[in-house]
């Protein structure tokens, strides 16, 4: 059976490759920092499952120190000039879209089909992780198509991956780091403290005030945690269920559905949701790392207000 572990090995191999390409690239003044950063990251993928937690912890701290003391560098940017790329684009035409579109299409196909394929009674892939595994397999197929079609050398993909990954830099690891921070917040009981504070300081004797507190609380707490999934249980147990549902007789289904979406408004406004808000600025080479958040804030605020109104209208109607 193909499990997540195999995909981690693949990711580890890619990171190791990126590390080696960096080591050999003398055009990057900080090449040793990059080599160490991606090298340690590779180890967490290849061996992370088997290492003692403390060792993993020190590896992570090592990565952070490498990235923050003197920082990571970048080799000489693009591997082809704009003219070369334009000539190549004319040569290959729309065929270039085939591998690119194969990734999402094959991923979707995989999520549907892999659930049904069994070999000798056991599933071909781990069904719980089917989306992620499908993405990885789709990527491999797309890469094969690309290599054959373009007749590119086998070393090209890893050199290109290095170029893109170094352009993203430390931001590539930030989402994972924030997920780890969320876990520590949970261990330390941060959520209960915050909902306790909200209950103590906010006037909660009118239904509209409670609804506004719940929806805004979901958004703000999501901004702090970077994830609506972490905010939902805390806010719903602290304010939603005891007040909106039990005290004022609101509908728990409607409250939860709109409450979660109020949290998503918060996700649009926070750098803590790094994979949605910070990583794209790195990927799109934007100088302002808050550029995406700035575009999203007006929509998020208007939509949050809309959610509060919707919940007011809908939650008490049965």
């Amino acid at each position: 059976m193909i499990t997540l572990e195999h995909i981690y090995w693949l990711t580890g191999l890619m990171m190791a490759g990126v590390s080696i390409v960096n080591w050999r690239d003398r055009s990057n003044p900080r090449r040793l920092n990059n080599t160490a950063f991606w090298g340690i990251y590779a180890v967490t993928f290849l061996a992370g499952t088997y290492l003692p937690d403390v060792v993993s912890g020190f590896l992570v701290i090592g990565m952070v120190l490498v990235a923050s003391i003197r920082g990571l560098g970048q080799g000489r940017g693009e591997s082809a000039t704009r003219e070369e790329r334009e000539a190549s684009a004319i040569r290959w035409g729309n065929k270039l879209f085939i591998p690119a579109l194969a990734i999402p299409i094959l991923t979707v196909l995989g999520t549907v089909l892999f659930k049904k394929i069994t070999i000798g009674g056991s599933a071909l892939v781990d069904v719980k992780q089917v989306t992620v595994i499908s993405l990885a397999i789709a990527t491999l197929i797309a890469l094969t198509i690309g290599l054959v079609m373009l007749r590119a050398p086998l070393s090209a993909p890893i050199r290109e991956a290095r170029r893109l990954l170094d352009a993203v830099g430390w931001a590539a690891v930030l989402p994972q780091m924030l997920a780890a921070l969320g876990a520590l917040f949970a261990i330390a009981g941060v959520g209960n403290v915050v909902s306790g504070l909200a209950q103590r300081w906010i006037p909660l004797d009118h239904p509209s005030a409670v609804i506004a507190t719940y929806a805004i609380g979901m958004a703000v707490f999501t901004m702090i945690m970077g994830n609506a999934f972490a905010a939902f249980p805390v806010m719903t147990a602290g304010i939603g269920l005891p007040l909106i549902v039990q005290k004022f007789g609101g509908d728990p289904t409607i409250m939860s559905a709109i409450g979660m979406l109020s949290g998503f408004c918060g996700t649009l406004m926070t750098p803590m949701a790094a994979n949605f808000n910070i990583v794209p600025t790195a990927l799109l080479e934007l100088p302002d790392e808050n550029a995406v958040i700035k575009v999203q804030i007006p929509t998020a605020l208007v939509l949050l207000a809309a959610n509060i109104l919707l919940m007011n209208f809908l939650v008490f109607r049965r």
């Binding site: 937690d53 999402p104 921070l181 941060v190 990583v279 550029a291």
Partner: protein, 227 residues
């Protein structure tokens, strides 16, 4: 109260623009210590959480093939294709992507998008190409504005589309949490009540997108006046 120290560190760190990896690590370690863990226990807890969150990074596996195609001119091709469509403007390209992304996400096809595999190689170059087609070479500021908008469309359409699909993580989480509290709800009911917000999101963001073309035109006119 002491356990809130992590939040404080994160806020101050982001404001002072200290390397976020360092800020988040220190916040995590401080939170753990404030929560009563020993120094080595904190490091172990952090390491364990980092290792169990590795699935977040699997999306980087698309980089080799995306890089290879970019090297062969994928972005340039995406620009050319849009340039041939006379009716294409930045607003219209992004509106079309918003609609496709939200509808497919609502059908559970959340992987038909994403920043590394769709926005960087295809959507952003197409949105830029539509503007270039009209105005020629774009000022940096406008180019960056278009790219940031392309990323925002991917996020907003995904967030407020996926919740209409009954088997998505957030719906399962809501259902599990309410079950624990003795309230049984149907996933279809949760999905139905996500629709009003989804419609609002579509109306609000698409209205804003309609003004993007005008903003681009103004920025270019401003640039022309200066020179």
């Amino acid at each position: 109260m002491l356990s809130l120290i992590g939040i404080l560190i994160v806020v101050v760190g982001f404001i002072l623009r200290i390397n976020p990896l360092l800020v988040v690590t220190i916040a995590g370690l401080a939170t753990g210590l404030a929560g009563g863990l020993g120094p080595l226990e904190v490091i172990a807890a952090f390491g364990k959480a980092f290792i169990t969150s590795r699935y977040v990074a699997i999306v980087w596996l698309v980089l080799p093939v995306i890089g290879l195609l970019e090297h062969a001119g994928l972005k340039e091709r995406a620009r050319t294709v849009v340039g041939r469509l006379q009716a294409a403007t930045t607003s219209r390209v992004l509106l079309a992507y918003f609609a496709i992304r939200q509808i497919t996400a609502a059908l559970g096809l959340t992987s038909l998008g994403g920043h590394a595999q769709m926005v960087r190689p295809l959507i952003a170059p197409m949105a830029e190409g539509a503007a270039e087609n009209r105005y020629g070479e774009l000022p940096q500021r406008t180019r960056f504005r278009i790219r940031a908008n392309a990323a925002a469309v991917d996020n907003i359409a995904l967030f407020f589309g996926e919740d209409i699909f009954i088997a998505i993580g957030s719906i399962l989480l809501i259902r599990g949490f309410l079950d624990q509290n003795g309230i049984h709800v149907e996933p279809t009911q949760l999905a139905i009540w996500a629709i009003p917000t989804a419609i609002c999101a579509f109306v609000i963001h698409c209205t804003r997108l309609l003004f993007l073309d005008r903003k681009i035109r103004n920025e270019i006119a401003e640039k022309a006046e200066k020179t």
